[in-house]
Amino acid sequence: MDNDSYLLLLLSDGNLPTGSFVSSSGLESYFKHGFPAIERISLSDPSASQAPASIVGFIRDSLAAYARLALPFASDAHNTMENAVEKGKDATIAGLQALDRHYEAMSLNHITRRASKAQGVALLTLFSKGFSRPTWLDAFNPSQMDAIGSRRKEEAKQRLSETVVDAYKLMIRKGEAPGHLPICWGVLSAALSLSTGRSKQLFLFLYARSLLSAAIRLNAIGPYAAQQLLLHVIRQMVDEEASNCSHLTSLPSEGPPFEEDWSRLESSSTPATTWPLGEILAARHDLQHSRIFNS
């Protein structure tokens, strides 16, 4: 099995301790505020009951917004991490930190920030505890001497990734970097040598799936119906958003950030917020009299 396929199996495991099960990304608040009552004309299907239409509507808007804002940061972080061998540890960490702080400045919502940071750190912990190469393995398995050259190179890359992740975790703990989910996802996927394309698709798929899991826990949809949506509806959405947003980047083309660089902010390839209503509902999460999720 090739690396990408095997990693997809590993990373799409719903039991991975990524902390996403406590997050509904605003869905709980959306229900609490009575939004399923709002008819969605563009999704109207006389045969469908209200619940799936409102859930599909929420997922479509929420996923589109997440793809537009977070995906470019995930792919920039992935690329930064992929270049770690050439650029070195310090430059890589500085690059990640800049992305992380930029993302923080763009995600202007305390609930979303809180959830994103919790899940980001969980991903890095998952990497160092769950995906790092056990040291005993080298002594235990010295047989494959034939491929020793390429294996050494792989091991060096793996060790560098582990060093970067450990150093970055320390920075997060010291409050020097926020540790947001998209940045940590990019770090993780690149450290595992997942390709950029797959990393982006999986990032969006996992987001959409976690919304569906939240919908199940909120009793808004059954587990079978959720699987149905995942296969027949969410798939196109993920593909569409991955391709719509694939050209986006948070990095300025060039030039110092200090000059009034209008093109940087006018460029349509910059990340953006596209669902202001979603922002309001997500930010109102903690106001709910009773709630089961953290966001």
Binding site: G34, I38, L108, H110, E260, E266, T274, I280, H289
Partner: protein, 336 residues
């Protein structure tokens, strides 16, 4: 269904403006105030006696007739230390469609876009209060606005700069049943404190790309409305700097007192408040001290079914906090 829109019969223009406000004694005056058509800046003399020192009001009157596709306006504001500026418009900013329709599919800023740029520097202890009327993007218009605010960082001896920034828009000419029919609306606000970017608020609303088939058009328009319904007016308020702390605190207290029960249908007006923590380098005279200080700004978002409700909500919510800053007389000129 298609209604013809009367577009002002003129060619697209590039206009620029500059205003520099400095304090002297108890007054603030414009050391520079210049503009080229169609930008027009006007500073009314304050007739009523006011106990607010170093305050000026500036109206941006350029938008009276509305902006058309291809118009480009660039405005530079400079606030010296310890001055206050209330920045207002007169009436909503109407965005007409460009007569040569921009291509939808590329999504890039086209020649036909209406563009506005604002660059503002805010000195130590100074405060810029921007309370414009909302932007109203007409059917098939394409609008892009970029505003960059550079606030002086606090030092050991001086306070930092402050900003109260209101940015809001409506779904279109609701009276004509024109809702969410613009091609593209984009508004970017970036706030820097010293050399730290503390907020980068980029809002982008556009009709989804994809097939250009005519049958799809109705569906596409519905999609933008679907995701923003039942509201037709959205406002964002950004608060940073020491002059905004009391106002932020007031919002926080009010917000924390809310408790949301299960609703059957959404409320007519909804709002949210988020404190925004940031870190800035302390400039304590020593170079590269590397010290970071945590500060807190805030963002308030409001949405309602009609513009008037948002205006009224803003007027009442900001009253106490802003009257303390700019006085009752100046504040009465906002949200009229």
């Amino acid at each position: 269904m298609s209604k013809s829109t009367l577009v002002p019969a003129r060619n697209a223009i590039h206009g620029t403006g500059r205003a520099k406000l400095v304090g002297f004694g108890t007054t603030a005056s414009f050391a520079e105030l210049s503009y080229t058509y169609p930008l027009k800046l006007l500073s009314p003399r304050q007739t009523t006696a006011t106990n607010i020192e170093r305050l000026a009001i500036l109206y941006n009157l350029s938008y009276g007739g509305g902006l058309i596709g291809g118009d480009q306006l660039a405005l530079t504001l400079e606030l010296g230390s310890d001055v206050k500026l209330l920045f207002l418009t007169q009436g909503s900013t109407k965005i007409f469609p460009s007569r040569a329709r921009p291509r939808l599919a590329t999504g890039r800023a086209e020649v036909g876009d209406t563009r506005q740029r604002l660059s503002a520097t805010i000195g130590s202890g100074a405060c810029l209060v921007m309370l414009p009327d909302p932007v109203t993007p007409f059917s098939h218009s394409s609008y892009s606005q970029v505003q960059i605010f550079r606030l002086a960082a606090p030092t050991k001896d001086t306070a930092g700069g402050s900003i109260v920034l209101l940015d809001w828009f409506t779904s279109g000419r609701m009276s004509r049943g024109e809702e969410w029919q613009f091609d593209r609306y984009r508004s970017a606000n970036e706030i820097w404190i010293g050399n730290e970017r503390v907020a980068s608020d980029v809002l982008l609303l556009e009709q989804p790309p994809s097939s250009s088939s005519v049958d799809e058009t109705a569906k596409k328009i519905n999609r933008l409305r679907d995701s923003l319904a039942p509201y037709a007016c959205y406002a964002t308020l950004l608060l940073f700097g020491p002059a905004t702390h009391a106002l932020s605190k007031e919002f926080a207290q009010r917000y924390d007192g809310l408790s949301q029960m299960q609703r059957k249908v959404p409320e007519d007006l909804i709002w949210s408040y988020s404190p925004l923590e940031y870190k800035t380098s302390i400039n304590n005279g020593k170079r590269n001290s590397g010290q970071k200080e945590t500060g807190v700004g805030a963002i308030v978002r409001v949405a309602a079914k009609d513009t008037e409700s948002v205006r009224q909500w803003l007027r009442e919510s900001l009253r106490a906090g802003l009257e303390a800053q700019i006085g009752r007389n100046a504040y009465s000129k906002a949200f009229v």
